[in-house]
Amino acid sequence: MSTTSDDRSAGGIAAPAGDRGGILEVFKREPVALAAFTIVIFSMPLWIPVLGGYEGLATLIVIWGIFVLGFDILLGFTGYLSFGHAAFFGGAAYVTGFMYRDVSDNVIVAFVASQVGTLILAVVIGLLAMRRTGIYFSILTLAFAEMLFAAALSIFAPLTGGYDGMTRLQEPNLFGVKMDGLTIFYIAAAMLAIGYAMALRLRNSPFGVMLRAIKENPMRLEYTGINVWRYKMAAFIISAHYAGVAGFLMVTYEPYVATKFLHWSTSGEVVIMSVIGGVGTLVGPIIGAGFVLYFQNVVQAVIGEQWRLILGLVFVFVVAFLPGGFVDLARMVWKATGNRLRARRHNVPDMELTETKYGTEERLR
């Protein structure tokens, strides 16, 4: 898989050519990583049955892959841990469902509407939540998402179908082509590939450098003449849109909107997937998503009633002993087999409990 070649480039700009791998290396690799990624994803219907999976699982993994990829842009790059990303996933899902049920069965109409909805949500929540950092940011995003969840179940229940979710949707189609089976899989896979390419580009551009700088020292960045607020908002909105696209695809794939899409457990699942896979590595969270979904749908049937117990234990184990997730495991194996690699750990960024990272200077204010 492309894991090892890719996370190598996570350093963004490294030394100028010569020193240790460095810039040229990275840029030679970006298309390679992208090509490898695309091949692995697009061929999933061919290889996933070998592992006991099935076509629908491949589609699910791809959709959630988009979701966690966007989450990684916010958490892995910028260091903001959102506990409320379900708001965008579920919000877009509800808008999509609403379009299919009451307006049009055309996927393009639904796509546009869902993204407009996501944008509005992201701007409103971002404007408020982004004022805070660390755990306070997490709580604020959680609170907004839960408010949305509660509203969908109560005030908007006549529109959303309440706890039962939104049913009776028209069958989505693109000018007559039905969105089922491999059709929706390849559409979703293409979106994931595009999303991955964009994320790679972002990471390896000055924009990505700025986001990482926000994680490292937002005050220094501000006093280097950078509008930190706009970069933060941009990262938040971009990240939300990934979730929104995933939400749209979810409903297009399964013409049904579950209330769970808005629930905090969905936000929690994204965090779990990212951490298990390896935060900040882009591919890591996608692998994490694949693992969790594979476990929930395939291993579950093997284990039976206690599958959640086993999943919980696996999760505890990974957090405790593999702080960098599966990608770290791959890196360790890679190293153990004699490959020398620059050891840059992509650990979970610390979620500051402090309100700000600003140094002593800030206290004067």
Partner: protein
């Protein structure tokens, strides 16, 4: 007036459970800097331990055994898990404790099933309490005649309330008082409070902070034990109780100010009352707790009583 009185009682009683869980959470957070998402799981262990002892032995025995047992669970939990995460990012702490919470829930389901286990209350706590006002005539029903009665000047006629819930409110007041006493007037409390302010400094002074840390988690767990003892007969005994209480009690901690004990109690009361007073309007009740959290965090980020400089 009767209406208002009963609603306030209901609010206080809802807040009581939150207060006890939030106290443990905020204590552990304040001292150890660890966000313990497994605190709900401690409550789950408490209710199952309590109901088993109450059914098979006696509730009075459970009264002593369960908090002690939870104290031990807490100490083991700190020594066995948490201490390996002091130097890890808070995200890791949250995730590993969250994972453990899932494990505890699933083990409880495995052992005892997903359905409720009826939790019989001891005779001394069963039945209703009667509040009556001037000139009230209490009907000659035996249950009412035997029930505890309290005269309150503002009650019109008489009203009944679940006696156990009044006991719960009382127990919470006692638990909070004992905790404040421990922290305010004992050497242990002095060190813990110093540790809440600056754990490095306390360590520097050569005080065995590790043992105290274990004690703190034990103490937090023991309060969860008390909450389970008195909350179990009301809220039921099911494996998902922990997860249901986790988010609200965590929000209570944040609203009160992370690490602030008084803040946790205050926030719990506010949340309890706001839930009780919005009971007739489910649309508002569903969002009220989050609305309060958002408003507080936006206008007073360190919470209602959070101290500046310590957690900021």
């Amino acid at each position: 007036m009767n209406d208002l009185f009963l609603t306030v009682l209901a609010g206080l009683q809802i807040g009581a459970i939150y207060a006890m869980l939030a106290l443990g959470l905020t204590l552990i957070f304040g001292t150890l800097g660890v966000v313990n998402f497994a605190h709900g799981a401690l409550y789950v262990i408490a209710i199952y331990a309590a109901v088993q002892v109450a059914i098979n032995v006696d509730f009075t025995v459970a009264l002593i055994v369960v908090p002690l047992f939870l104290f031990v669970v807490g100490v083991v939990f700190e020594r066995g898990v948490i201490r390996f995460f002091y130097d890890r990012p808070h995200t890791d702490q949250i995730l590993v404790t969250f994972g453990l919470a899932i494990v505890v829930e699933e083990v409880a389901k495995w052992l005892f099933g997903a359905n409720n286990i009826p939790f019989p209350r001891p005779d001394w706590g069963d039945g209703v309490i009667i509040f009556y006002g001037p000139g009230a005539v209490i009907p000659p029903v035996p249950v009412f005649q035997e029930a505890p009665q309290l005269w309150l000047p503002f009650i019109d006629g008489f009203v009944t309330f679940d006696y156990w819930r009044i006991i719960l409110i009382g127990v919470t007041i006692v638990a909070v008082s004992v905790l404040f006493y421990l922290l305010q007037f004992t050497r242990f409390g002095l060190i813990v409070r110093a540790g809440m302010r600056d754990s490095d400094m306390v360590q520097f002074l050569g005080i065995n902070i590790a043992r105290r840390f274990a004690m703190v988690v034990g103490l937090g767990a023991a309060i969860a034990g008390v909450a389970g003892l008195f909350g179990g007969p009301i809220l039921g005994v099911t494996p998902d109780q922990g997860m249901k209480l986790l988010v609200p009690s965590f929000l209570v901690v944040v609203i009160g100010g992370m690490g602030s004990l008084a803040g946790a109690v205050l926030a719990a009361v506010i949340i309890g009352l706001s839930l009780a007073f919005t009971a007739d309007n489910p649309d508002i009740q569903a969002v009220i707790i989050y609305l309060i959290a958002v408003v507080v965090l936006l206008f007073r980020p360190r919470g209602l009583l959070g101290r500046k400089g310590v957690f900021e």
